[in-house]
Amino acid sequence: MAIHSVSQVNKFIKSMFERENVLRGIMIRGEISNFKCYPSGHCYFTLKDAGGALKAVMFKSRAQHLRFQPVNGLKVVASGTISVYERDGAYQLYVDSLAPEGTGDLQLAFEQLKAKLTEEGLFDQSWKKPLPVFPKRIGIVTSLAGAVLRDIYHVSKHRWPHIQLLLHPVQVQGEGSAEQIAAAIAFFNEKCPVDVLIVGRGGGSMEDLWSFNEECVVRAIFASKIPVISAVGHETDFTLADFAADVRAATPSNAAELAVPDCREVARHIVNLKARLTSQVKKGIESRRLRLNACLKSPVLASPQTMLAARRQRLDYLLGDLQRLTEKSVTTKKHRLNLLLERLDGMNPAGVLRRGYAVAEKRGKLVTRVAEVKPKDKLQLILQDGRVPVEVLSVPEAEAVKAGKEGQ
């Protein structure tokens, strides 16, 4: 019995596998487990179902075309060839293509990338930039041919005839188109400033629109400092570019409407502002006129004589009061004067003389006491109707002493 080496056996078994046509271009349904992707780009996993497991490998040359990310638990249909890995003596499936079961691979890739970028916050409303109100330059990233550019051109020129359009032409589908789109967005941001960017293409299948779901395009839109309006496909098509854009337009025409103000509306706005200006001035003047009229109608300014008459009347009253008070005061004083005059009259010596009294005068001075005279003094005796010279005959002694004492 011949003895074979391990290598010989493995090689023989491998050749058996490779002769079997059933194992070539076979399609196998199963669930992915133990999925590993190495830095080399080669992917290793196990396909399993309830009854068994099968090792699988997908080399970089194939795996790089995968749109979605294979994950453990994902039900897939893998197609490829089953052969033997001689080093390990193991048979395995060499995967050419992998498709998620039940859903399209694009749909799955879309959902996966959407979940990933949502997680990163790329679609957060807080990042959305406002569009400029009066843009001068609109940057456009789309293909030179096609209806998109014409639609944008017509709508924007109709709304604002002097708007300037700058087109960076790109391929919008197929190999390399996503990279072109991302580079064009970066180009406007770094080299060619515009006020707003419109990024888009016309309608098509999900495959046609796919570039706008590519991560590099979504990230370029997110990174753009210039506000981006996305206009991809029709109103019902949603791409990840739409989620990352500052504003999503339903169509390219709609994008132009969003980007460019309508000069007729702006003109109406200005005319309206001017009308409000005029009406404010009219109102301002009218309200002042009313206030002025109200002032002019006040009695003070309307008939000054009324005001004078009132003052005249008050003056008259005051003068009347003054006169009355003066008269009253004069009467009182006259009365008091008469009383005083009567009392004064009572003290008039002439009155005493009239009643029969006499007054003696010595050298012009009234004599009121005995001590003031000596015998032989010559006195004047004043009577009611004249003077009589008299001579003192004698002065009683006791009276003189008494007077002398009193005089000391």
């Binding site: 001068k136 014409r150 051109y153 300037q164 700058l166 087109l167 003109a267 200005i270 001035v281």
Partner: protein, 79 residues
Amino acid sequence: MPRKKELSFEESLEKLEQIVASMESGDSSLKDLMANYSEGVQLGNNCLKALEDAEKTMDLLVREDNKKVIKQELQIEGE
């Protein structure tokens, strides 16, 4: 009122809107009211004129070639 520099359309329009808003909020003196009015009318007329006779700009086809920005006139198919 002499202007130091020519205001852009946007600046003029914004100024006009501010003037109208301030007039509508009331409280300005008659002197201010009249000054605002004449300035506002002037701004409004400038804006309307600017809408009519903005300079014609050329649309461009732009791209980068060997680190240089290339600009050509943009011809729209069928225009």
